[in-house]
Subunit: 505 residues, 2 copies
């Protein structure tokens, strides 16, 4: 396996670069995970499927990968509809709203969706609340070095001072996003505390907890909670080191989140934390940005069941996964019912071909001559797949290649074996590559084939056949049916109306 | 629903007591969860199934329950076979053994097993590593009050001093386990540091981390890690308050773990943390204690697949669940292949009856007279079920009651409807109670019925029928079979040998 030909588009350098890991054979990858203050939605599907493919592909190339994806569970959480007066009243602990109960609920739902998408579990899934000590230690270091200041029990990162000093050392604030400091607007998630900051662009490392704030920890600056950006710096450093290979996330996280991570790490470790910064592009819905104001934020449970008003039907997790893989991860992806229906059809078509391919073993006749035109064509397409993946993970192009081969498989399936001029080697290669890409690297799986429905339909048919047999006094057939079904664990029962019912034993 | 008649055996008072919650209608319950330094084994099945039943039953009674079950992920973790030299060498972070990677792996496996058992997810599943700050705060309080001392960066709880003072206030050390302090041997999990302790029974609240110890946090006493007992005190207090309703766990945790929890809480909050202490008894294997020396620690994955040498076959999660419920939780439970096979049979028998009961709706004839002997008997048995549950959760007795009703259901099933003198009301009650206990409270579910295998068997049969039809030139039947299967999504294919193969579309 040639590891050295893999290229990633690196947001940091704005170039496609050959990927080389810091430690040969090992990769450390950090991906920003979900904020579990609500149910995961369609926007969460893309980054976690995208980086699952990165994880799978790197493993396929032979790397040992430590994939760290965090859970952001520290913040100002509230379940819609829960009364906020809970928060300040002097009620017993059990009577109060417990944010960790919500965190647990939404974390469980997130994990459920990740399993549905067949995403592999990350190597470590650390939580922000699980790393308060590590965050405090890092903040202390930043204060000590003079790049943060304390105001009323809160701590802010001094962006101006950082930029002036580190800008000279090749790590200006804005290095990742390309934004110039003067132009930058305050776009961090916190809304208040503008009056406490020296400059608009400064961001919170630690926030003093107002009495009604229910997620709170003791710190050297009083009772409070960590800012958002520091958690990723603390956790990535802890589990991957001061400098690791890949940092991933959605493009919306590039600024300010990843920019702030770089600044924090630069102060603490004098390094940009990651070498390759990978960002997936956004999903739009019928051409519009996703957002509450458009009422187009589709929860994953709604997406699968078809219960959001935008949807004309439910779309299975594999359809969504396939849909996402059909577009390059750095292109925008427009969601619409029609596009999803097309993906559903496409997946069905390729999966049927693959299912057939998987089943035929020795009983298919293949030509021994490998120099026919078709044999060459198939080989050419198959050999191009890895090059497409190596070209910044062009899953769309790989799928296009596989689709080109579907008619070849179908011509075998339709019995036109004579027309298929594939050598045994090429045929085996075809099978292997379909499995490798569809199952191992793209993580597609057989969804529920509704065997139960099929079983019902077949038993219905058997019932009719048996009724026919009995009507012509063919009791041998009738009994044979009963007995063979019984040995298969199916108990027949003759109903009064002459029809048959059954029970699965 | 009469909440007031529920009784629990309280280990603390050694009596059966009527359960009353501190806050009417709400219950706070804390259960000691797994230590995720290895794969979950059979010994983990019992407490988590037992307290899942407690959770389900309290909810059924109408309580709003906050069920907290922790994950013990702080400790000295090492994967078997991993080289320990990793720990002290100056390697890059990514090259070193990362305990959180193991923690993640075993946590995921634990969750997989809990899902397989159909245990409900707890309301909050906090981790020890996620509550280092809270543990430090609690330890500081204990030191401040004079019940702990610092030696070489470690902190120990002073059991003697505690006992002398709190013993007078009704909270002696030993109050839960009944052990007298003088008799107590040192049985905490740590092995070293005897020389640092003032007394043998003292236990660690915080341990100084030796350089090779890889799980470590900054604290007021230097770099270290928390003792085992303090985590549960910190987390139960945080999420349930200083005094909550139920504390559960295996009987092996009564001493020293729960005893130490009481002492810690008594110092910090001047209260015994929980009112009702519930302990499930142990599982033995063929009459022997479970232990490495006996080579009888069966991992759950081995149990389900039958791959441990003790096992003659695999046992499904529902069989294991049913087996556990057939014995009262406070009795010892002896595991053997024969006992599990019997449980498998029993579950099959009761589930078949229930499946039938679930299916029959209007088409079953029931007597309108409700005063027959059988009708009375059925009612008596059904009404006794709740009383049995209320009697310290006697699931074994409830199952015995349900089993008594199986012949009644089977007599309906066998078509002896005339002999069944049940009123419509009783019949409905029978259906409802079976569902309530088997599914809702006991959490049993339909396991994979192997519809796929059945479908194969039935299609095999259809193939033979079609071959017969063709051999006697009955092409109408042959075509009918082909067409009806096609519309059910099954494509037939005639093989050269005259047999038939098929493909699911």
């Amino acid at each position: 396996m040639n590891m050295s030909s893999l290229q990633f588009y690196n947001s940091l350098t704005r170039e496609k670069e050959v990927f080389t890991s810091i430690i040969p054979g090992k990769v450390g990858m950090y991906v920003c995970g979900p904020t579990v203050s609500g149910e995961s939605h369609l926007g969460h599907a893309r980054p976690f499927i995208t980086f699952d493919i990165v994880f799978r592909y790197l493993k396929h190339l032979g790397y040992q990968v430590r994939y760290v994806r965090n859970i952001t569970d520290a913040g100002h959480f509230e379940e819609e509809g829960r009364e906020s007066e809970d928060k300040i009243s002097k009620k017993a602990v059990l009577e109060k709203m417990e944010p960790m109960e919500l965190v647990q609920k939404y974390t469980n739902l997130f994990h459920w969706a990740m399993r549905a998408f067949n995403n592999l579990e990350p190597s470590i899934e650390p939580t922000a609340t699980g790393h308060i000590v590590e965050q405090i230690v890092m903040i202390e270091k930043i204060i000590q070095d003079g790049y943060a200041y304390v105001v009323n029990g809160s701590v802010y990162f001094d962006v101006d001072k950082y930029h002036n000093h580190f800008g000279k050392n090749g790590m200006p604030y804005g290095i990742l996003s390309g934004r110039v400091l003067d132009e930058q607007l305050e776009t961090t998630r916190e809304l208040e505390s503008q009056d406490e900051k020296r400059n608009k662009t400064d961001f919170a490392l630690w926030k003093n907890a107002a009495p009604e704030h229910i997620m709170r920890w003791q710190s050297p600056w009083g009772i409070g909670f960590p800012g958002w950006h520091i958690e990723c710096s603390a956790m990535s450093t802890k589990y991957l080191g001061e400098e690791f290979d890949i940092h991933g996330g959605g493009m919306d996280l590039q600024f300010p989140h990843h920019e702030c991570e770089i600044a924090q790490s630069a102060v603490c470790n004098h390094k940009i934390p990651a070498r390759y910064w990978l960002h997936n592009n956004m999903i739009t819905i019928n051409g519009k940005k996703m957002g509450k104001s458009y009422n187009n934020v589709i929860k994953l449970s709604e997406l699968f069941s078809g219960t959001h008003e935008i949807l004309t039907q439910g779309f299975s997790p594999m359809t969504v996964r396939f849909f996402i893989l059909q577009t390059h991860y750095r292109s925008t992806l427009d969601f619409s019912n029609e596009a999803l229906q097309a993906a559903e059809k496409g997946l069905k078509r390729i999966w049927e071909a693959y299912t057939y391919l998987r089943k035929v073993t020795v009983d298919i006749e293949v030509k021994s001559a490998g120099d026919d035109e078709l044999d060459k064509k198939v080989n050419t397409i198959l050999h191009a797949l890895q090059a497409d993946m190596n070209e910044d993970l062009n899953t769309a192009k790989v799928l296009a290649g596989l689709f080109e081969l579907v008619p070849v498989i179908n011509s075998i399936k339709d019995g036109n074996i004579k027309k298929v001029a594939l050598s045994a080697t090429t045929f085996q290669f075809l099978k292997d590559q379909f499995k490798l890409y569809l199952e191992d690297i793209f993580g597609l799986t057989d969804e529920n084939k509704q065997d139960t429905d099929k079983l019902s339909a077949v038993l219905q048919l058997i019932g009719e056949i048996r009724k026919d047999a009995r009507s012509r006094k063919d009791f041998a057939t009738s009994d044979k049916i009963r007995n063979q079904l019984l040995s298969a664990g199916i108990q027949l029962k003759d109903e009064k109306d002459g029809n048959m019912s059954w029970e699965l034993l």
